[in-house]
């Protein structure tokens, strides 16, 4: 997904006098940007306005990857004013106030272990407070156990990978709420 392109398209729509721009590219990358409809106009026929963005990302038909399927942003349907800007992305919608959140990603390829050994306590659990040197998990690659440390101080909001699951480079492992 080309966020930069989408960002620029949104800019174009916001700064112009058009309601919608749809760009279809090869491999069916379709991007449609629809102007936000003011919610205070009551008597507008809803059907003609609803434009849930439907953006298939390039997903392989034989996708057996361990990548999680991308979720589509939910269409807006609230009749009340909505503070949210138009959502155009096909990637997981960021949680609210994501500026306070931080995602710890895997710096290597390997197998994720939440604990030092099968029976042991996990290094980190949801709700734990961590500092930059706290070990969060192990990613094992080529028989070497690589300890992954928190890069920031905060509270563990979520663990995103199951114990023993393979992870690729850049794959999100934990969400931290920054202190």
């Amino acid at each position: 997904m080309k966020f930069e392109e989408i960002r620029r398209l949104i800019d174009l729509v916001e700064r112009s006098d058009v309601d919608e721009v749809e760009v279809t590219q090869w491999f069916m990358n379709r991007i449609r940007v629809t102007r936000r409809v003011p919610r205070d106009i009551v008597d507008r026929p809803a059907a003609s306005l609803s434009n849930p963005p439907d953006l298939p990302s390039l997903s392989s038909p034989n996708d057996r990857s361990r990548t999680k399927p991308s979720t589509t942003a939910p269409p807006q349907s609230e009749p009340e004013p909505d503070p949210e800007p138009v959502k155009t992305a096909a990637e997981p919608a960021p949680a609210p106030s994501s500026d306070r959140l931080h995602t710890v990603t895997s710096p290597i390829v390997g197998t994720f272990y939440a604990a030092q050994s099968p029976g042991a306590e996990p290094f980190a659990q949801v709700g734990d407070r961590v500092v930059p040197s706290t070990v969060l998990c192990i990613v094992e690659a080529m028989k070497i156990m690589n300890e992954i440390e928190a890069e920031s101080a905060g509270t563990i909001e979520a663990r995103l990978v199951e114990n023993g699951e393979p992870v690729e480079f850049g794959q999100p492992l934990f969400t931290l709420r920054l202190a």
Partner: protein
């Protein structure tokens, strides 16, 4: 046969290996950098693993990450393609240590052929002709003149530590040789910090002709004829063909025998290529051996009907070669043009960027190997080759005409490519008459 193969490469060669695996019924794992997320090899593989950021050193050249990707996906073998880890003995060794089959020769073989001096020695031992030379450093004075008189003028003085044309002098007489050695030594001392030089026969207007080799783990080695790669620019091949217009059946048999002899001597058990310099007089000299599949392998596939990548995988799995030397015959003629994202009118400078539009030619005798599509971003991080166009015809003339019409059909918009350059080469009298050598492109005006 393997259940699952990890392809430690990107671009068209990754796609090529995936295609071979699909035809063999083997599952595939693609690895990719963050820049290659939307690549076709990722799309077409059964599984894919992101192994690092765009920089090759942190992704396609990072052996730990590649092997970890094989481990987490339970792949049993690794195909290295060409470039990147394909000729890394260390990587082959690491695969072995991790109980992964490296689809290529043994690390020791890669090692010995990767060292030019060692490779030359092994080939001399096996009776493969090498460029006559001093076999060691020479000094000015009688010893140099004696060597030169033995190998015959013209000779070339080369810095032992050299490269890139510096510290080199061609001499056509004793007097030129004495001056040449002095100047080469001075230049070499400045450039490389060592004034050691050696002498070799200087081959004028050579062709680059290489023999495709295939060996199995049961000791069979055969050759699949030659490819002529004389159309090159600064040692970068641009257009290749099979058979060579300069090689007849007798010479093919001689060169093939020499290549097989060399490969047998080192116990070669995979797909590989023995590169020769071919003189206008029909003498040939070993240059080097490439212990991997080559970019230009499709021209050999077209004229022999043999799928080299599938054979390479089969022999790595321990299978016997599917045919003997007598079963191999060359049918017709094939030409490959490398379509690079380069500006041929500006000294072939790389031209990465977004491809707006692609239309590939089709119809009889046309093969396309490419990983691009409309909207594809040619990354500045990697090789500029974006497609290989191959034309196969019943004669060389038909192959040339077919390639010219295929290049006419080809549409790539958004970035400049080498396609117009290929059109000019194919339209030249020198090429169509087969009168080219490795210096042709340097002299070629278009």
């Amino acid at each position: 046969m393997f259940d699952k193969i990890l392809i430690a490469n990107r671009g068209e060669i990754a796609l090529r290996v995936i295609r071979a695996c699909k035809e063999l019924g083997v599952s595939t794992v693609a690895v990719h950098s963050e820049a290659d997320r939307e690549s076709l090899h990722v799309r077409m593989a059964d599984e894919h693993v992101c192994i690092g950021p765009a920089a090759s050193t942190q992704s396609y050249l990072n052996k730990e990450r590649i092997i970890a990707a094989a481990e987490i996906t339970d792949a049993s073998a690794v195909h290295p393609g060409y470039g990147f880890m394909a000729e890394s003995a260390e990587f082959a060794e690491a695969c072995r240590a991790s109980h992964l089959v490296f689809i290529g020769p043994e690390p020791e073989t890669i090692e010995s052929m990767g060292n030019k001096v060692k490779a030359r020695e092994r080939m001399v031992d096996a009776g493969v002709p090498v460029v006559p030379g001093s076999d060691g450093p020479v000094e000015t004075g009688p010893s140099a003149l004696a060597v030169a008189s033995e190998i015959g003028y013209p000779v070339i003085v080369k810095a032992a530590a050299g490269g890139g044309g510096r510290g080199m002098r061609v001499a056509r007489s004793d007097a030129e040789l004495e001056t040449g050695i002095a100047m080469a030594r001075a230049e070499a001392a400045t450039a490389f910090g060592s004034d050691v030089v050696y002498i070799e026969r200087f081959v004028e207007r050579p062709r680059h002709v290489e023999i495709q080799i295939l060996g199995d783990r049961l000791g069979s080695v055969i050759h699949l004829g030659e490819r002529d790669c004389s159309i090159q620019r600064r040692h970068q091949k641009l257009l290749e063909e099979a058979p060579s217009p300069a090689v007849d059946d007798a010479l093919r048999a001689k060169m093939g025998d020499a290549a097989v002899r060399g490969a047998e001597a080192i116990g070669y058990d995979s797909a590989g290529t023995v590169e020769f310099l071919l003189t206008p007089g029909g003498e040939f000299y070993f240059m080097e051996m490439n212990t991997r599949i080559q970019v230009e392998h499709p021209v050999t596939e077209c004229v022999t009907g043999i799928d080299l990548v599938k054979e390479q995988i089969r022999v790595a799995a321990g299978d016997r070669l599917g045919f003997e030397q007598a079963d191999v015959s060359v049918q017709g003629h094939a030409i490959e043009c490398r379509i690079n994202a380069e500006s041929p009118r500006h000294n072939f400078r790389p031209a990465p960027g977004r491809i707006d539009l692609v239309y590939f030619p089709g119809g009889p005798g046309i093969r396309v190997d490419s990983h691009i599509y409309p909207g594809y971003d040619v990354s500045p991080h990697y090789d500029s080759m974006i497609a290989k166009l191959v034309a196969h015809g019943s004669t060389r003339d038909e192959a040339i005409r077919r390639m010219r019409r295929a290049l006419e059909e080809l549409i790539i918009e958004g970035i400049p490519t080498t396609a117009p350059f290929h059109q000019a080469v194919l339209a030249s009298a020198e090429f169509s008459e087969g009168r080219v050598d490795t210096g042709f492109i340097e002299r070629f005006e278009w």
